[in-house]
Amino acid sequence: MSTSPDLTKAGPAVPGSTVLPAAEPRPDVPERRRVIGRPRRTDGFALAGAAVAGVSLTALLFTRLAPFDGVLGFVVVSYLAFLGFYTLLVSFDESGPTVRDRLAAAVVHSLAALMLLALVVVVVFTLWRGREALVYLNFFADDMGRAGPLQPLSVGGIRHAIIGTLMQIAIALAVTVPLGLVCAVFLSELPGPFSRLVRTIAEAMTALPSVVAGLFVYATVVLALGMGKSGFAASLALGVMMLPIMIRAADVVIRLVPGTLREASLALGASQWRTIWHVVVPTARSGLTTAVILGTARGIGETSPVLLTAGFAAYTNANPTSGPQTSLPLFVFDAVRRPDEAMIARGFGAAAVLMGLVLILFAIARLVGGRAPGQLGRRAARARARASRRDAARFAARARARQAPGVHASDSEVSDA
């Protein structure tokens, strides 16, 4: 005798048969779904309580109990006390793994906050110390040609440094962008032993410290060729430094282009050149732009190659091929080492301008690119959708015309052709 076929029959328990309970009556109010991922109120209490307790204990220690002093020490001791109290509070009502989880979360959050704080402090401090110089209009429109270091901030400015920076980075980009992009295309599109060698060497050169690049140009162009320190030598040094960085970034982006796109283009009969120009490069365009702009941001802020090759001038020199030409980082470096307050303020002002330049470049890079190849922005996606709808309407019209060969057929055929 095995299980009875009629399982729903509720009768006296026959050995070997299964009895299902009758369905429970549904509650009037639908049951609330419990949310278990959200922090509870006790978590907040534990955090706040531990923070208050930590600071209070430290204040007691520093003012009453122990001969401690110093702001940094206060912060460190309060943080450690906070961690201790937090662990204690959580361990009252949680198990061991949860206590460790909470402690790790607290440490990770505070490390991230510390990092963010460092960035904010660096930016705000530079702007704050530079505020005295930045409010003067002549700071941007004048150079230091007639302004001595002791003169107030209402005289002289950093026009020469801004012009020098823009000119040097422009020359460096004019050399490195075409060369770097062609080389990156070569590395990813014409694979072979030669391109492997080039890639290895280019990767090795990303390790070249910028000061060594500057020393190289100083020894060859400035000393051996006798060109003297000039803006051109500085842009050569920047170019030597930026070229491998740019090649590497562009190479990574081009290699991310899906191979299927390439194969589709080749299968349609396009030549290799047309495939690269019309498929690979447009697909990777945003990433390539980002690579170029981030390389520029890196080059614009480099001080050491410029220090060795550009020379220092107080006047505006718009000719990069002869005579010293100061750039912004070099001006900052020179100004902040002077003892005069006005000069130090000018240095901070120039640093703020330099940071603003980097910020603008960075914002452009993020607006233009940063997407993976083939991923479109909102506007581009809408344009593609419109084109696709247009095509669909056209195909549909043609199909209708084919199905009903009448008066309109010849018209639509003509208009399509």
């Binding site: 110093g70 702001v71 940094l72 020490g73 793994p97 460790r100 989880d101 790790a104 979360a105 959050h109 490390l111 991230a112 510390l114 990092m115 460092a118 960035l119 660096v122 401090f125 530079t126 075409p178 060369l179 770097g180 062609v182 080389c183 070569f186 014409l190 080039v198 060497i201 090795a204 050169m205 990303t206 390790a207 070249l208 410290p209 690049a213 020393l215 190289f216 100083y218 020894a219 060859t220 070229l243 491998p244 990574v252 030549s271 290799q272 050149w273 047309r274 981030l294 802020g301 050491s304 060795l308 980082p329 470096f333 902040v336 130090i344 640093a351 330099l354 910020l359 470049l361 960075f362």
Partner: protein, 360 residues
């Protein structure tokens, strides 16, 4: 044309299904069609230009490396192996070596790494695991922006804020270096010669311009680079394994310890070494802060430190040919060191499980 075959149109009869060597075929027709790639003139021009671009880059890079070696040769010939052992920099007196500055460079980089790696690990874990999804792109951009801040800005920040206000503040030099020197001074690394922290009139200048302070500033510079590599790797940890850990009852930290950190170990090591490479070559921030010494300075809290890149920036005006050659040799040593570090980093990253698709 609707049918597609591997054979050209002239081979009209369908290929025999019986497998056999091509020579057995009656009319001597070839086996599978040989694929001949004909390139048009535009392709040939393009390939020529691309090859020329690659060759030009190779030429420039090899030229730089070669010239560095050639120009450094006279100094290496004069100094020989003593170049690596002498603790002085006097090219005019034929007595120069990088022992002191090389140690200083390595010490500064190690201090920087010791500070930046925990910071970067925490920040990367926060961005990839803890941060709300909405603010994650913002944080990623902030970290990348931090990496793009010019080094001279970090340098003046360290020189005008970090050193005088936070680390060696006031007449007594209050701050972390004094605390370390007071309580951990028995460790040789933290010893400060000629400075008694318990002496109320001791001058705090003994604690300024040290390896430690330069290391802190460089740490701020390399931390975003390390963070960005680590975040990239952490975010690639497979979702299935994460959910598996959660399904087995792991807390978030348990999941991170058992899935994310083991998965990202290669990226963590590689990112750290990339940061180390940058820290070794950093010039301006170090130059602004340290006061150069040419002897080996093992006390990281003491005034005076050495750095190859700062040495180059300090002495490049040497008029003698030998002085320039000696600096070239020092630069070559620095370059070789960063080269080894970078290569090891890229090998570690590419060998690791997470590094196959990683960008670095």
């Amino acid at each position: 044309m609707t049918t597609t075959t591997l054979r050209g149109p002239d081979a009209a009869p369908p290929p025999p299904t019986v497998a056999g060597p091509p020579a057995d075929q009656p009319d001597g027709a070839p086996g599978p069609r040989r694929i001949v790639q004909r390139r048009g003139p535009s392709d040939l021009v393009f390939r020529g230009i691309a090859r020329a671009g690659g060759a030009a880059v190779l030429f420039i890079m090899v030229l730089v490396g070669l010239f560095l070696t050639i120009q450094a040769w006279p100094a290496i010939e004069v100094a020989g192996w003593r170049f690596l052992t002498v603790q002085d920099w006097d090219p005019a007196g034929n007595n120069f070596g990088v022992a002191g500055v090389l140690t200083g460079t390595v010490l500064i980089a190690l201090v920087a790494i010791a500070i930046s790696v925990p910071l970067a690990t925490g920040a990367a874990l926060y961005i990839s695991e803890y941060a709300p999804r909405r603010i994650r792109p913002l944080l990623v951009n902030l970290v990348d922006l931090m990496a793009a801040v010019p080094s001279v800005v970090y340098g003046i920040w360290g020189f005008f804020l970090l050193q005088p206000r936070l680390l060696v503040a006031g007449d007594q030099g209050e701050g972390l270096p004094r605390w370390l020197a007071t309580y951990l001074g028995w460790i040789p690394l933290f010893k400060v010669d000629g400075y008694d922290p318990r002496d109320p009139v001791a001058s705090p200048t003994a604690l300024t311009s040290s390896t430690f302070i330069a290391g802190v500033v460089v740490a701020m510079m390399v931390a975003p680079i390390i963070t960005s590599v680590m975040r990239e790797v952490f975010s690639q940890a497979p979702v299935g394994e994460r959910e598996g850990a959660y399904a087995l009852g792991a807390t978030r930290w348990g999941m991170i310890r058992s899935v994310v950190l083991p998965f990202g170990r290669g990226g963590m090591i590689g990112g750290t070494m990339l940061g180390l490479g940058r820290a070794l070559g950093e010039t301006i921030a170090v130059y602004l802060i340290v006061s150069m010494v040419f002897v080996v300075q093992p006390h990281i809290l003491q005034n005076g430190a050495g750095s190859i890149s700062a040495l180059i920036a300090l002495r490049y005006g040497d008029s003698t040919a030998l002085g320039i050659a000696a600096l070239m040799a020092a630069g070559l040593v620095l370059f070789l060191m960063t080269l080894v570090v970078n290569f090891v980093a890229s090998i570690v990253i590419s060998r690791s499980r997470s590094g196959a698709a990683s960008e670095v």
